[in-house]
Symmetry: C2
Subunit: 344 residues, 2 copies
Amino acid sequence: MNRSTIGDVAKRAGVSKSTVSHVINNTRFVEENTRQKVFHAIRELDYRPSSVARSLVSKRTHTVGLLISEVRNPFYSEVIYGVEDVALAHGYNVFLCNTSYDLDRGLRFIQSLIDKQVDGVLLMSSNLSPSWLTELEQRHIPSVVLDWEVKTTGEFLSTIQLDFETGINAAVDHLIKLGHKRFAHVSGQLHLRTSRVRRDIFLNALQRHGIDPAEVAVVEGNYLIDGGQKALAELLSAAQRPTAIFAANDLTALGIIWAARDRGLRVPEDLSIVGLDNIELAAQIVPRLTTVALPRHEIGGLAMNMLLELLDISKEAPSQSKTRTQVVKSSLVIRQSTAQPPNL
Amino acid sequence: MNRSTIGDVAKRAGVSKSTVSHVINNTRFVEENTRQKVFHAIRELDYRPSSVARSLVSKRTHTVGLLISEVRNPFYSEVIYGVEDVALAHGYNVFLCNTSYDLDRGLRFIQSLIDKQVDGVLLMSSNLSPSWLTELEQRHIPSVVLDWEVKTTGEFLSTIQLDFETGINAAVDHLIKLGHKRFAHVSGQLHLRTSRVRRDIFLNALQRHGIDPAEVAVVEGNYLIDGGQKALAELLSAAQRPTAIFAANDLTALGIIWAARDRGLRVPEDLSIVGLDNIELAAQIVPRLTTVALPRHEIGGLAMNMLLELLDISKEAPSQSKTRTQVVKSSLVIRQSTAQPPNL
DNA sequence: TTGAAAGCGCTAACAG
DNA sequence: CTGTTAGCGCTTTCAA
């Protein structure tokens, strides 16, 4: 009735538990004859080793936790996909933890993951609390964090930095070259660090081209379509309308584009829009969106690979922890949502 | 150095392991005094019980597996979100398993989940193999499957049926009432059961209105935007152009709409489009999409709740397994992508 | 070439 | 009111 154990197999095959264990794990020589008997018994009983029991002794669960802000955000979907892919290839399972941008909720996930003894954790949510890190470092749990400044005290912490600068600078160069002079930005929620980073890079780039940041309208969006839509309304009611808008992400850019169309503004003839993310849709909407691209799928894969590296080391040579920092560059994908400003 | 165990706590508090266990789990009376000593020791050692060890004895992991076809599909994102939400609320963690429509890959996931002793499994991928089910039933693992005809032999299997019929029928009624006579359908991959179901419901509904299914063009798409785009090209090259197209899902519908615009066709003036899913985008594109809606978030939550029900019962009263079947209805959301056919 | 036995961290009789 | 003890299903010395 109940699932069979290694003891059942041993009895059935007429050998000891340790022999069974060894043939399963190929961990010492066993005579071909007895090997076959064991395999037979396994087959007959439909035996599968319990990873719970294994984990109890080995201290490894072949499981990792993945914290993200929001599954429904296409950016994270891609990242998840990348993580999943290399995890599966290496025999790991992943606990998906959707923090919903809630730090407390995230902390509860972390604790639950620790209780479940995950081998490592991927911290990819766009906001994270230092308490998460201390919780993990205290327990020596290998982690990799995405896009977050961290005093890399830990010997178990690798980081991936997203270089938004390269791509955003290129975008500004591109717009300036087209002749734009009046800019605006629709940010993400400004209490999120990443929102401020994107904004500041944009403003700095403009400043290098002699444009006073104080004259650049910044409206706060929410990384969602409706945020972009509302932001555009606000921008259009200003005295000086911008001719080019940089959106904090593609969803926001879509919102802007559609809201513009609703108001009879043509993109890019009347208004140039640049997004950020390069979600799948970006290449398919009309007009196809000019955007700052991040290799999302690769980011997921890279993160998981870096984690695996940490795991190998923490197992094999606990002394020489090789925590890494990797930078992932953004780049500008020029499509059809940008053009010369009107009246030129 | 290493994480402290219940033994450490017991020693520190000067009591036995069982006492510690009992105060942690509130499982028998312990004098307030000793309770406090135990809590103190726990605090001092920063002790957290190992769920691995617990699971070994309790046979429960408070973990479930969630199989879906594709994280990047917005439909699944929402479902995942719903599942996650109620899972967290009940102290469960979820293993995300992205099958990529690959039956073998799915089977490997299932086996891995069984090895890891998940308490239950949510089978929500759009195609599944019978072998998955037998694997699960053999091990008496409670499962709920989404939208799949299953000879409900198992006492551990609940099902959710998606009633596409209500919504699709309403869509056809709507189009007929508008005056359409020439219809087409862009399906999903026809080797997927759900694709055939959607198509057949559509064709049957038309037939009830006196329209010969043989005269309805059906082009195979892929549930993605580009599939819709290519399909439209094919449909337009036919002698008899349709005036109304039913797309197997919203992404496909978007593809059709955008491809139509690229070719100078106006939606809905020249061509009416109905989608299926009601993804977030559907309400925000121009024109806003008329579509057959499924309550995706609720589906995820419902599934997880049904699974929890199964778990409770399999724990508390193994005799009276209450496997359920629940039907989730679709409905038509009328927006702006449908109108009277041209030349009327 | 194989077995016996200890132990991983916890729970749950069974005693007292 | 609390402690002792025997497992849960596996891996891994240590012996033979």
